[in-house]
């Protein structure tokens, strides 16, 4: 686990555009951010603000036109596909909006998939801790289609946590869930930060979700336009309203 106060991920002067000429869209416009280890960060902004692109670049799923991306002390922009794949496997965890579990595998197998792909044995103690945190011990032998949406998303969170990545990225993890299930998932992410010093970055629309985090970054037109520390739901709503105006 990374030390408190260290930078877990960093982007500098990151720029990305789509299309050319008239139809050109600037998704990221010279963005520079430090994401601190052991922090729960939310990225917010209206559609087209570049928040998803930012996260995809951070998570080694997409490449930017210029600027640098670092996970820990590893510069991503110089890596080839093979190394990026290995980085995703070992240093990054993912939680998607739609649960994205492998339907043929049981919950347990889904959780252990990144480790078994890497050919590593799970750290027994850590695995038990993760299972305890996500509170799924009695559901581990079920296939995804036997689980509710909230349970599936908790499996996805457990899968992201189990390989002890430097950063867990969550892309609207509560977007498809009712509020109770959503709260369970957010609580889970929060506790992984508090109890295990996990670094978590979450893209969201939801001020309620944002209120679970330590820090909220607001994006608009590809730029970071505002930032809140230890936000409440009201503060987030206020900022959003102000930015939209």
């Amino acid at each position: 686990m990374t030390q408190e106060g260290a930078v877990a991920a960093r982007v500098q002067h990151l720029t990305k555009t789509y299309g050319t000429g008239e139809t050109q869209v600037v998704a990221l416009d010279d963005v520079t951010i430090d994401l601190m280890a052991g922090e729960f960060t939310a990225v917010m902004g209206p559609s087209g603000s570049g928040k998803s692109t930012l996260m995809h670049c951070l998570a080694a799923l997409d490449t930017a036109d210029s600027g640098s991306v670092m996970i820990g002390d590893q510069e991503l922009t110089v890596l080839k596909d093979k190394a990026l794949t290995r980085l995703r496997r070992d240093a990054i965890g993912f939680v998607f909006q739609s649960y994205n579990l492998v339907p043929t595998l049981t919950a347990r197998e889904n959780i252990l998939l990144p480790l078994s792909i890497a050919g590593r044995d799970p750290d027994r103690e850590w695995y038990d801790a993760v299972i305890a945190t996500v509170n799924l011990a009695d559901r581990l032998d079920h296939k995804p289609n036997q689980l509710s949406g909230g349970q599936q998303q908790r499996v996805a969170v457990a899968r992201a946590l189990v390989s002890r990545p430097r950063v867990v990225f969550a892309d609207e993890p509560t977007g498809n869930l009712d509020s109770a299930s959503g709260a369970e998932v957010l609580d889970l992410l929060r506790r992984s930060v508090d109890e295990h010093h996990q670094t978590v970055v979450m893209v969201t629309h939801d001020p309620v979700a944002a209120a679970y985090t330590d820090r909220v970054l607001f994006l608009a037109d590809g730029r970071v336009v505002d930032e809140l520390r230890d936000p409440s739901r009201e503060q987030v709503l206020e900022t959003m309203a102000r930015l939209a105006a």
Binding site: H56, T85, F96, V102, L105, L113, S116
Partner: protein
């Protein structure tokens, strides 16, 4: 609605291409085979029509020998010609000399052709064939004149490598002919066409008479050409009235039919045989089309549900799927027709290995073929699409709003019941066809039974295959770790799809392995028969049982180390003159009869003399003949009565139930030729093979074989036939492998999001490719295992049914079994190349976002 379904069709180009491919191959196979059989049929009809005149004059009973493929020495005298020319209906009369077994040697000293189609020799003339048809004409050079000139047909000259002016080597098995005339002309049909692999060497008439008829001023037949307005029948009546006793006239049509009959029925067999393979290809491609459409519809189920939600009726949805099938069928049939032409050329090349050389025959594309191509392509596709189309009707509109739409599927239990029902019907059908001799058309029974069993196994395969899929899944998980486990789970995800894909491969491999068992059993039986029956140390014979000069046998008898030679000759007659009761006859010299060591059960072998016969016990019993009775046989020289002097136990040395003397056969109009000679050697003799070989050095047709070589020669035709069957089944396997490609490619498209997820959490491209490859291998191996298992069942049952017909040994070729299984692994890996690459190249972000 129509626009919507056509649009959706075009939007899925890859899927369209893949589903069309199966149809293209199936249709191509049918087209190719129909084209080929039309071509064969027409080429033979044309060939035989050009080998008869309007009226043919010949010795009575010359058709007897022809039926037994033995040539008689009977001729018609040239002195008949003036009488025939005076007939009012005759425009001209031409004497024809013809002989078989006249071999042309290539520039390299090898016999041209000779492996099936006959080798003709004769006199050159320009007589028109029946109905004014133009026969062979000189295409290049000029007609032969004098003893030193010869004309060859185009294909023979080509294959032998001769050009005009070259010295041509021509031999016969009898060694009565060994000449080296100059090639002065190339003959052929003006409008294309060939002799279909036969060879033809023509001399001028006096030379031909000298060479083939011992210099007699006679002919094999006369062709009488009718004047304008005189029919073949009228002319033949006039001719018949003018002929002396012992000669007959037949119309050209009848003569052509007589000589073409046995050949055409052989060709008919070949056509039926090929059509069976077309049927197999169609069944296999239907599997793939059904499978493809099931997947396509499953993938479109959300879209179809949306259409339903927007107000489309069940009927409209079903119709849109069927319209899609129609469009795909139409495109597939058109492309298949084109590929079929290419395939017909392939088959033409394939059969040339059994001596049916059609390289010079133009391929015939009959309207019927075009019709059949489109009918099969469109009908099969629409029927194949009907099942999944019907299921689409059951998609509820509300499903459009759900995330994961599952197409309603009939339960696996119902499939199992269907499979069991088909097996319960098919097995008895096949067994009745095989073992109850009394039912008519038992081939159909067996065919229907086998088809029912194959379909039954296919229907039940999701259940039969499940334990196999589980087992391979476990093996792969152990051997290949997490990707192996994923692959194993994926194969089990939709066992029906996996097993249906495997079933297509199963059919091809079932038949291939059945054939492998038949072939290897037949060869084992040949080996056993040779082992049991081979007596003496060497056998001298020609490849097709043609006769050779007795002088060869005489010279061999004098070789140092040879203790004894036994000669046999073959003849053919009609028992009691009945056209349908052909009888093969064997002859030997009375003074050597003791060396056959025959055991008489009645009468005495020592009474064996001219105009008497010895009969084998079983045959004598069947025909109710005993010592002192008379055997009536019609031979080329007419009806004969032979006295039975002995009934003997069966002996492997005597190939026919009736044994008479050499002189008796000579008197009956058969040539002075030995057919089969057994050489006994001094045990201490060395280098004997070389000395025997030296005797037949100049006769490439006649060979000296020890037991091993003889067995190999007997096995060779089996290998050739198996080779052709493998060649044809290869197409069925290709279709099946494309089916695997199809299923995998479609399932990759279906799993786009899942694949994206795997890539996102750190699965490398290599690992992804490995996963797809393993899935493919599981399908291929399942198909191979089912195929080989069924092949063993079919093969062994068939051999058991045939055990009375001399095929006593049942042999399962283990090496081939291993080869088949390994081959299926390779096929699996190959089939995965394209889908795996596609999966590995998916863009991670877009794949995750895909719906």
């Amino acid at each position: 609605m129509i626009r919507a379904s056509l649009k959706s069709l075009l939007a899925r180009r890859v899927r369209l291409l893949l589903s069309t491919f199966a149809i293209v191959l199936g249709v191509a196979f049918v087209t190719g085979i129909l084209m080929f059989s039309d071509t064969v049929q027409r080429s033979f009809v044309a060939l035989f029509d050009s080998t008869v005149g309007d009226s043919v004059v010949r010795p009575v009973n010359s058709d007897v020998a022809q039926q037994g493929a033995v040539f008689s020495t009977q001729t018609v005298p040239a002195s008949l010609q003036p009488d025939l020319e005076r007939l009012p209906g005759a425009a001209r009369v031409d004497g024809m000399v013809s002989a078989t077994g006249v071999y042309v040697l290539s520039t390299g000293g090898k016999v041209v052709g000779g492996s099936g189609p006959p080798a003709f020799g004769g006199n050159w003339n320009d007589a028109p064939a029946g109905h004014g048809l133009e026969g062979l004409v000189i295409l290049d050079g000029h007609e032969p004149h004098g003893a030193d000139e010869v004309v060859l047909d185009e294909s023979t000259a080509d294959r032998a490598g001769y050009e005009l002016g070259d010295k041509v080597s021509i031999v016969t098995a009898t060694q009565t002919l060994d000449v080296h005339p100059t090639l002065v002309g190339i003959a052929g049909f003006r409008e294309g066409g060939s002799l279909n692999g036969a060879t033809y060497a023509a001399f001028d008439t006096p030379t031909a008479q000298q060479l083939f008829l011992d210099g007699k001023d006679a002919y094999t037949v006369f062709w009488v050409t009718a004047r304008d307005g005189v029919s073949q029948e009228e002319l033949t009546e006039q001719v018949a009235a003018a002929l002396p006793e012992g000669y007959e006239a037949v119309t050209g049509d009848d003569a052509a039919e007589e000589s073409a009959g046995p050949l055409l029925s052989g060709i008919g067999f070949l056509t039926t045989f090929l059509l069976i393979f077309a049927g197999i290809a169609l069944v296999v491609s239907s599997y793939i089309i059904v499978n493809t459409f099931s997947i396509l519809v499953a993938q479109r189920s959300r879209e179809l549900a949306l259409l339903r939600a927007l107000g489309a009726s069940k009927k409209q949805v079903i119709r849109s799927v069927q319209l899609e099938a129609f469009a795909v069928g139409l495109v597939g049939s058109t492309l298949g027709l084109g590929l079929g032409v290419v395939l017909a050329m392939g088959i033409r090349a394939l059969v040339s290995s059994i001596g049916l050389d059609l390289a010079h025959q133009p391929l015939i594309l009959a309207p019927r073929t075009v019709l059949a191509a489109f009918a099969t392509g469109i009908v099969v596709t629409m029927v194949a699409a009907w099942l999944p189309a019907r299921r689409t009707g059951r998609i509820a509109p509300v499903q459009a709003l759900r995330d994961d739409v599952a197409l309603p599927e009939s339960s696996v239990r119902r499939r199992l019941l269907l499979g069991v029902a088909l097996l319960a019907a098919g097995i008895p059908l096949a067994l009745v066809g095989l073992f109850v001799g009394a039912v008519p058309h038992n081939g159909w029974w067996v065919g229907a039974g086998v088809l029912a069993v194959l379909l039954g196994v296919t229907a039940a395969s999701p259940v039969i295959g499940r334990p196999f899929l589980r087992a391979t899944g476990a093996v792969e998980a152990r051997a290949f770790g997490p990707m192996g486990r994923l692959a194993g789970q994926n194969s089990l995800r939709n066992p029906r799809r996996t097993t249906a894909t495997a079933s297509a491969l199963m059919i091809g491999l079932t038949l291939a392995f059945t054939v492998a068992i038949l072939g290897s059993s037949a060869k084992a039986s040949v080996d056993k028969a040779v082992e049991d029956n081979f007596i003496g140390d060497y056998v001298v014979s020609s490849a097709f049982g043609e006769g050779f000069s007795p002088a060869i046998t005489d010279r061999m008898a004098e070789i140092d180390g040879v203790t004894e030679v036994l000669r046999q000759r073959y003849g053919f007659g009609l028992l009691g003159g009945d056209e349908d009761d052909g009888l093969s006859i064997v002859a030997t010299a009375p003074e050597t009869i003791g060396d056959f060591h025959l055991k008489a059960v009645a009468g005495s072998v020592s009474d064996f003399a001219d105009d008497t016969v010895l009969l084998k016990e079983d045959w004598a019993d069947d025909h109710d003949l005993g010592v002192g009775d008379t055997l009536e046989v019609t031979l080329p020289t007419g009806a004969k009565k032979w006295r039975v002097v002995g009934v003997v136990e069966d002996s492997p040395l005597v190939f026919s139930p009736v044994l008479t003397t050499t002189q008796t056969l000579l008197d009956s109009g058969f040539p002075d030729q030995d057919n089969y000679v057994v050489v006994f050697a001094d045990p201490g003799a060395t280098g004997l093979q070389e000395r025997l070989d030296a005797v037949v050095e100049d006769l490439p047709v006649v060979t000296v074989k020890d037991q091993q070589a003889f067995a190999a020669e007997q096995r060779a035709p089996i290998d050739r036939i198996i080779g052709i069957i493998y060649g044809l089944l290869f197409f069925a396997v290709v279709i099946a492998v494309l089916g695997i490609v199809n299923t995998l490619a479609l399932s990759v498209i279906e799993r786009t999001r899942e694949i994206g997820l795997l890539r996102a959490i750190g699965v490398s491209r290599r690992q992804l490719r490995q996963m797809i490859r393993l899935e493919s291998v599981v399908i291929a191996v399942l198909g191979a295992v089912l195929g080989v298992a069924l092949g063993i069942v079919f093969g062994v049952t068939l051999m058991y049914a045939l055990r009375d017909q001399g095929l006593e040994r049942i042999s399962i070729p283990v090496v081939q079994l291993v080869v088949f299984l390994v081959l299926s692994l390779v096929l699996g890996v190959l089939a995965a190349v394209f889908p795996a690459r596609r999966a590995a190249r998916l863009d991670v972000l877009r794949a995750i976002a895909a719906d």
